[in-house]
């Protein structure tokens, strides 16, 4: 049976991709963020995942406002990327896991989550930057299942709905009758705001509350509306929705294996968190 081995959540700021391309990992500005990753990579080497479910938000590469799904699940054989309009480095196409994708789609639709399915799908920096951070040598040794959450056009799905979707994905993966190690990568956040007179807003207290709640009490985050999160975390701070979906996928109890929190990277409070389901041995 498929086994959920753990989750890695990380900010996905596009400038990180630029810093990787320029080799700035040891630069004083970037080092506090990049030094989060060696222990995360060691953990991944222990876990040896076959598949990564990537929960992220598309920033206007694959989806335009003509057709904008609230939740979309990729079911493609491979996923390409693009420079997105500002010359961001691309990565070679990443292998898909269409059979697992369809098992997840069937599972969540049976639980009344009416998702959009994509047999062709471009992934943007929100998926490619984390893959580059986790496997800097290139060619990630995993197949991927992208799960895209609308954070572009309001109304967005509520934190409550996002946690419930994650739990439905958890049940679909747990029931998948193939021996696979699955990790969950969720991306974005934490607090930041790019647009409006409040641009540059960051809220470390709320970020800490979220990081703590994701470990021990994810239900606490379902008490917030999307408007609450915008107010407390910024217009793009709503990317925490991706982390909430991922927390649902991990199951009931987790322990925290790693946390990094650093201000600022670009306009953002950058964070990295590794959570591992309780009851799994991982020495």
């Amino acid at each position: 049976m498929a086994r959920i081995a753990g989750g890695i959540s990380t900010s996905h700021i596009p400038a990180i991709g630029g810093a990787i391309a320029k080799g700035l990992q040891q630069d004083a500005y970037w080092k506090p963020f990049f030094e989060a990753f060696p222990p995360v990579r060691s953990w991944l080497k222990e876990v040896r995942p076959d598949v990564a479910i990537i929960v992220y938000n598309d920033h206007g590469l694959n989806f335009f406002l003509d057709k904008l799904p609230t939740f979309a699940i990729g079911a493609a054989p491979s996923y390409g990327s693009s420079d997105e309009g500002w010359g961001i480095p691309t990565i070679p196409p990443v292998r898909g896991a269409p059979e697992l994708s369809w098992a997840i789609i069937e599972g969540v639709v049976a639980e009344e989550f009416d998702v959009t399915t994509c047999q062709e799908m471009l992934i943007d920096h929100a998926a490619t930057v984390p893959l580059q951070l986790l496997w800097p040598e290139g060619n990630p040794p995993v197949a991927i299942v992208p799960v895209a959450v609308n954070t572009v056009q309001h109304p967005l799905p509520s934190p409550k709905r996002c946690l419930a979707l994650g739990r439905a994905i958890h049940r679909a993966v747990a029931a998948y009758p193939v021996d696979l190690n699955v990790v969950v990568i969720s991306t974005g956040g934490l607090s930041h705001q790019l647009d409006g007179q409040r641009a540059g807003f960051i809220n470390p207290e709320f970020d800490r509350l979220c990081l703590d709640a994701l470990v021990a009490d994810p239900e606490r985050l379902t008490g917030y509306s999307v408007a609450d999160i915008v107010e407390l975390s910024g217009t793009q701070g709503v990317e925490i929705l991706n982390w909430i979906v991922a927390r649902g996928i991990l199951g009931a109890q987790v322990r925290e294996r790693h946390r990094t929190y650093h201000i600022p990277i670009s306009n953002t409070a950058a964070a990295v968190q590794v959570l591992q389901p309780e009851g799994l041995k991982n020495s």
Binding site: P32, H59, L61, Q153, H154, D195, Q197, A199, G200, P264
Partner: protein, 116 residues
């Protein structure tokens, strides 16, 4: 979406209707060929996408707050800004009326004291 959050405009259905042509043009900038066409003749490119006067003026002025007010969505506008090599600190500085250095200092000021 009725809650007022200071300095914040939520991109909802009302704004999505208002900004559709502008955002559609900015979405086209995913393609490098389209960025070249825009740069070769901005006015003609904007007309092809049917931008209204408010949007045209905001594009000419490279004014982020005016682009947002005209229905622009920041994720699509970022592709417009990218043509000119502007990053999100440039956009933040312009929107807050600060110098880029002052805006970056403001971001750093959020770091919890004692952070390494």
């Amino acid at each position: 979406m009725t809650r007022a959050i200071p300095g914040t405009l939520l991109f909802d259905g009302r704004m999505a209707i208002k900004g559709y042509a502008l955002n559609k043009m900015c979405y086209s900038f995913n393609d490098a060929e389209n960025r070249k066409r825009f740069q070769a003749d901005e006015e003609a490119y904007c007309r092809k996408y049917g931008l209204n006067e408010e949007q045209l003026a905001a594009i000419r002025a490279r004014n982020v707050l005016a682009l947002l007010a005209a229905g622009g969505n920041v994720y699509y506008l970022a592709k417009f800004a990218g043509i000119f090599g502007l990053d999100v600190q440039d956009l933040g500085a312009q929107q807050t009326g600060m110098s880029k250095d002052a805006f970056k200092a403001k971001l750093r000021s959020y770091a919890p004291s004692g952070e390494k």
